[in-house]
């Protein structure tokens, strides 16, 4: 009897334990997983073949507010600008790196994974318009592409400057630039960069643009993109003749030596961090800008 009781107790306890041992199949189809979907258009197919397949870069052009700062008022791109802008971005940005590094491996590894396009410019509350942003080494935002034209050399140069500026941020976010760069012109950085008087010539203080005076991170991005888009010859000329109307700025030894010091750090950084010859890259960018303008 004693055993029977114990036996029954055991059976009941076993039942309790087993009863809840329910196997669940974990193959439920989660609705909505995998993001937005729509019927693929010829543009989507072209982008897949030109950007996603070779470089795993998603060129996102359809409206998605969540990709942007909500305080910005924007509109989506016009469809017929998407392919020309992408073609030109490939030409003036990806192709020069491919040529300099030998093949497409470098860009396959080091490109941001998403480029988000906005049709309109991004006007901020202080009245400044933002042309582009880079985020966390992974994403570049480009604004104002609806008014882009490859026949307009100014716009092409601006686009080249923008993408190389943002891409410098991405490279810096992946491998930091030497700390020595911050110490070349430590006193030149100012929050007032957008309201500098014309006689406060940035070139004579060791900066290529006023925006470069915002902070060292922007400084190196501006320097790299300015040198790439201007080309070596024009950059060197501008260095010695920055503002003819201000005699002080001609052959200004301070500005020249500071910018040469920064240039050396940049060239060393590209060589040491990424094994790239900066001057070859500069030449390749020049060729490609020429090609885009004569497409």
């Amino acid at each position: 009897m004693k055993y029977l009781k114990s036996f029954i107790s055991l059976v009941i306890i076993a039942c309790v334990v087993i009863a809840c041992n329910k196997k669940e199949t974990l193959d439920t189809n989660i609705t909505g997983l995998g993001g937005d979907s729509w019927i693929q258009s010829p543009i989507d197919k072209w982008l897949y073949d030109s950007m996603i397949k070779p470089y795993n870069i998603e060129m996102k052009y359809k409206w998605d507010q969540s990709e942007f700062d909500k305080s910005l008022i924007l509109v989506p791109p016009t469809e017929n600008t998407v392919i020309p802008v992408t073609q030109d971005i490939i030409s003036i940005w990806i192709t020069p790196y491919n040529k300099t590094s030998g093949d497409s491996t470098f860009m396959k590894i080091n490109t941001p994974k998403q480029i988000m396009l906005s049709g309109s410019i991004a006007l901020q509350s202080n009245g400044n318009a933002v042309a582009g942003l880079a985020e966390g080494g992974l994403k570049i935002l480009l604004f104002g592409i609806n008014s882009y034209s490859r026949k307009d050399s100014g716009r092409v140069a601006d686009m080249a400057h923008l993408i190389h500026h943002e891409y410098t941020h991405i490279l810096n976010q992946k491998k930091n630039y030497p700390i020595a760069f911050n110490k070349v012109t430590p006193d030149g950085y100012t929050g007032n960069w957008s309201a500098l008087p014309p006689e406060d010539n940035s070139w004579t203080r060791g900066f290529v643009t006023n925006y470069a005076r915002k902070e060292p991170g922007e400084d190196i991005a501006e320097l790299v993109s300015t040198m790439l888009v201007m080309g070596r010859a024009r950059y060197d000329y501008t260095l010695y003749h920055p503002f003819p109307e201000y005699p002080d700025s001609l052959n200004n030894p301070t500005g020249i030596s500071l910018l040469r010091a920064k240039e050396k750090i940049v060239v060393d950084y590209f060589r040491d961090a990424y094994n790239l010859d900066f001057y070859s890259l500069q030449t390749a960018v020049q060729q490609q800008i020429y090609n885009v303008l004569h497409r």
Binding site: S9, I12, C20, I30, K62, W63, P76, E79, S120
Partner: protein, 302 residues
């Protein structure tokens, strides 16, 4: 006794532990599946309209009375053809998406975006904000005949009504605005030196041209330039209830109201003939300097 209680408890556990339908939903399908079905239903309604939809768009309705008319034709592969004013039709993309609400998003640029464009693409738009219009629209309700939509960020009021064959080309006509269209206007404005009672006429202004009567957000109401002073932003707002009435209600817009002597505007005479589309208006106001003005205007439907 305790022993029995323990046994009863154990048996009760055995019996209840396997009750499985605690997790089953009162619905057949999950919330996401039901939401997707709603979206699919909306899409099929949008696509089903053979002549597309006429859309009435009121950007920033809290501060704006103007209405913009568009024509849209949706297909089942996320494409939409748009028409606006006298522009050629334009193809772009759209999609339906479930966010906080089911949404209709015009996700690449088309005429609708001109109103929202921060680069000032339409008259009255502000740099940086445009007209505060929307192209990401929450679907409040939708049926085979009409959709009610609400702009997600600026609260634009948008209604779409099923279009007829005549809407697929030519001017886009919003339903419910009988007076909308172009009018040949003949007006004589009389400026008195002081009061009308004193009777000394200082000047008269004659106007003879074609004017547009444009729909306002108020149902059945259109705005048309006041005499020759449309350039100053002065407008009549004219309302007619239906096609059988000969009575129109005439008021003046806020710009005009703010620039004349307060409360001085009055209608001296008015008539409307629905058959010929002739509107006759005779009105009076006193200007800010205290001089009386009388405007007599005939509007003939083109």
């Amino acid at each position: 006794m305790i022993k029995y209680l323990v046994y009863i408890l154990l048996v009760a556990m055995v019996v209840t532990s396997c009750k499985k339908d605690l997790h089953s939903s009162v619905f057949d399908q999950s919330a996401d599946q039901r939401l997707n079905k709603v979206l699919a239903d909306y899409q099929s309604i949008l696509v089903a309209a053979p002549y597309g939809w006429v859309a009435k768009v009121v950007p920033n309705p809290e501060q704006n009375n103007n209405v913009y008319a568009f024509w849209f034709k949706f297909n089942d592969s996320n494409r939409v053809v748009s028409r606006w004013q006298n522009q050629p039709s334009l193809s772009s993309s759209y999609r339906l998406k479930a966010l906080q609400q089911p949404e209709l998003i015009f996700d690449t640029y088309t005429y609708l975006h001109l109103l929202a464009d921060p680069e000032q693409k339409v008259p009255g738009a502000q740099l940086g904000t445009g007209l505060k219009s929307d192209f990401e629209l929450e679907i409040i309700s939708g049926s085979a005949d009409s959709f009610v939509l609400k702009g997600k960020y600026n609260g634009s009021d948008i209604t779409m009504s099923r279009a007829a064959a005549k809407d697929t080309s030519g001017a886009i006509v919003l339903p419910g605005y009988l007076l909308a269209g172009n009018y040949k206007s003949t007006s004589v404005r009389t400026g008195y030196k002081t009061t009308q009672a004193a009777g000394i006429i200082a000047n008269t202004w004659k106007f003879d041209d074609v004017k547009a009567a444009n729909p306002l957000k108020f149902a059945g109401t259109v705005s048309i330039d006041y005499s020759d002073l449309g350039g100053s932003g002065w407008q009549y707002n004219i309302f007619v209830k239906d096609n059988t009435t000969k009575d129109v209600t005439i008021t003046i817009n806020a710009v005009m109201q703010s620039q004349i002597k307060e409360g001085s505007f009055k209608i001296l005479d008015q008539s409307y003939d629905p058959a010929s589309g002739r509107i006759y208006i005779k009105t009076f106001y006193t200007n800010s300097a205290g001089a009386d003005r009388v405007n007599e205007e005939i509007l003939l439907r083109q």
